[in-house]
């Protein structure tokens, strides 16, 4: 450019004077009294008492060296209440977030830099953005089938080996572990310490789930007590959701208060409304198993043992009595048999004796009928020959033989004079 082109009536300004003039111009157009809304995507964010945030046009890439950057800042007096509200609503200003900032331009002469002092942030807009991104994440997870993946993991009927993702010392941790410890069951709790809120929490939680998943546990419990939406924002994080979905171990969640439902809850195998309820549910699972597999069998064993012993006692007692009675009856039977036999023998002896006597009398009577004395007395005689033999026929004698005739009162000799066969 030629020097003559630079001719002007304006006086030459010192640098300071130039900035004063520039500041005055900016103040009049975009200054404290003429604040403006500016929409930008957070490119960098840094907090040190005050908030420092670099905004760029949404969708621009960092490789574009010429993309406009607005160095905004929010002084602590305004940032602190804003920060609390954002935290309560679960909004984190981080790279990628599109935000509407209300403020004014300022010029920092010592560094020759134009900045933007933020006095307000469109929280409602941010919330809408957060909600939209949350729904998009849910839709994505659903489309990939990840909402059901962990729900289909088989659950141990007695989940005693519990992996716990929590922050020790927090109420959520105490509420959950308190339920398990007071149950009296032998829970084995493997703790993976993590932050449960803040920037670092999602990565730590996801990492903890992955590590516990390698340990062959029965269940992994993700626990966080109540808090603001911001406190619970980590459980809407995609990394956490994907870690849960990918886990081979069933993941149970007990996050926040009643009514809070995080994406972690949606992806989890089982969701309890609070850490305390989650502890109760785990204990109930074990108690139900123990009732069915330990207590009821124990009751049956007790009952059956009593019945068996009672039955055995009755059996032995009954057998003892039976034996006593059986032997006694048997002995009585034998005694009766002996008595009867003795009586029968006695009776039979008498009969035999009487019969014998009768027989003797009859014999005696029979014999008496054959008594020769009685025959001789009746007139019969007995003749004997010379040889002393009884003469029974003519052949026993000869004519002229002498025979002896015996009569009832003596004998006399006789001679055979004539023999005549047949009766004369």
């Amino acid at each position: 450019m030629a020097l003559e082109d630079s001719v002007t009536d304006e006086p030459i300004l010192e640098v300071g004077q130039f900035y004063e003039l520039l500041t005055a111009q900016l103040e009049s157009a975009f200054g404290r009294r003429r604040p403006r809304w500016v929409r930008g995507e957070v490119a960098k964010v840094y907090e040190k008492t005050h908030l420092y945030i670099d905004l760029v046009d949404a969708g621009s890439t960092s490789s574009d060296a010429k993309r406009p950057v607005l160095n905004a800042h929010c002084w602590a007096s305004q940032w602190n209440p804003l920060k609390r509200k954002l935290a309560d609503d679960g909004v984190t200003l981080k790279p990628g977030v599109i935000v509407n900032c209300f403020g004014y331009v300022d010029l920092y002469a010592p560094q020759g830099r134009i900045g933007f002092t933020v006095t307000a942030i469109d929280v409602e807009g941010l919330l809408g953005d957060v909600a939209r991104r949350r729904q998009e994440l849910i839709a994505r997870l659903k489309h990939e089938g990840l909402l059901e993946t962990n729900k289909n993991r088989p659950l141990s009927p007695v989940p005693l080996r519990v992996g716990l993702v929590a922050s020790p010392g927090t109420e959520g941790y105490s509420d959950f572990t308190g339920q398990l410890l007071k149950s009296g069951y032998g829970f084995e709790i493997l703790l993976a310490k993590t932050a449960v809120q803040g920037e670092a929490a999602p990565a730590q939680i996801a990492n903890a789930i992955e590590q516990l998943d390698e340990l062959d546990l029965d269940v992994i419990c993700l626990v966080r007590g109540g808090g603001s939406k911001g406190d619970l924002a980590s459980f809407d994080d995609e990394r956490v959701a994907r870690a849960i979905a990918s886990a081979r171990t069933p993941v149970f969640t007990g996050i926040g208060h009643t009514g809070d439902e995080s994406i972690a809850d949606l992806v989890a195998h089982t969701r309890a409304i609070t850490p305390t309820k989650l502890g109760e549910e785990i204990v109930t699972l074990v108690a139900t198993w123990a009732q069915r597999n330990v207590r009821v069998p124990a009751q049956r064993i007790l009952s059956a043992t009593g019945a068996i012993l009672d039955e055995a006692t009755v059996y032995v007692g009954e057998r003892r009595r039976t034996m006593i009675f059986a032997v006694r009856d048997r002995l009585r039977l034998e005694e009766r048999h002996l008595v009867a036999t003795r009586e029968r023998l006695t009776l039979q002896g008498a009969h035999i004796l009487e019969a014998s006597t009768q027989m003797l009398v009859s014999a005696r009577q029979l014999l008496s009928a054959y008594d020769p004395t009685r025959r001789l007395a009746q007139g019969w005689s007995i003749v004997t020959n010379a040889n002393g033999r009884v003469v029974k026929a003519l052949a026993d004698v000869h004519e002229g033989d002498h025979v002896l005739v015996r009569v009832s009162d003596g004998t006399f000799d006789s001679q055979v004079l004539e023999m005549d066969k047949g009766t004369k």
Binding site: V294, L309, A312, T313, D329, R330
Partner: protein
């Protein structure tokens, strides 16, 4: 003569009792069978007493499990 396990002993005892019931026992056998039956009954009672003692020891432990809330 040894005595078998509970079921074997009970079977033998039942057979002895049945032989008495059926009048099969002669007076000569009476003492022998009675003596055997007495041995079996005493053995069963001893086993029963021993089992009861063990049960009394174990039952409270099982009861604690059974009655646990």
């Amino acid at each position: 003569m040894t005595i078998g396990d509970w079921n074997e002993a009970a079977t033998e005892l039942n057979e002895i009792v049945a032989s008495f019931d059926e009048g099969e026992v002669s007076v000569d056998d009476l003492f022998v069978r009675l003596e055997r039956a007495t041995q079996i009954i005493e053995s069963l009672e001893a086993r029963l007493d021993a089992t009861k003692a063990k049960v009394e020891e174990l039952a409270p432990r099982i009861a604690r499990v059974a009655e646990r809330e």
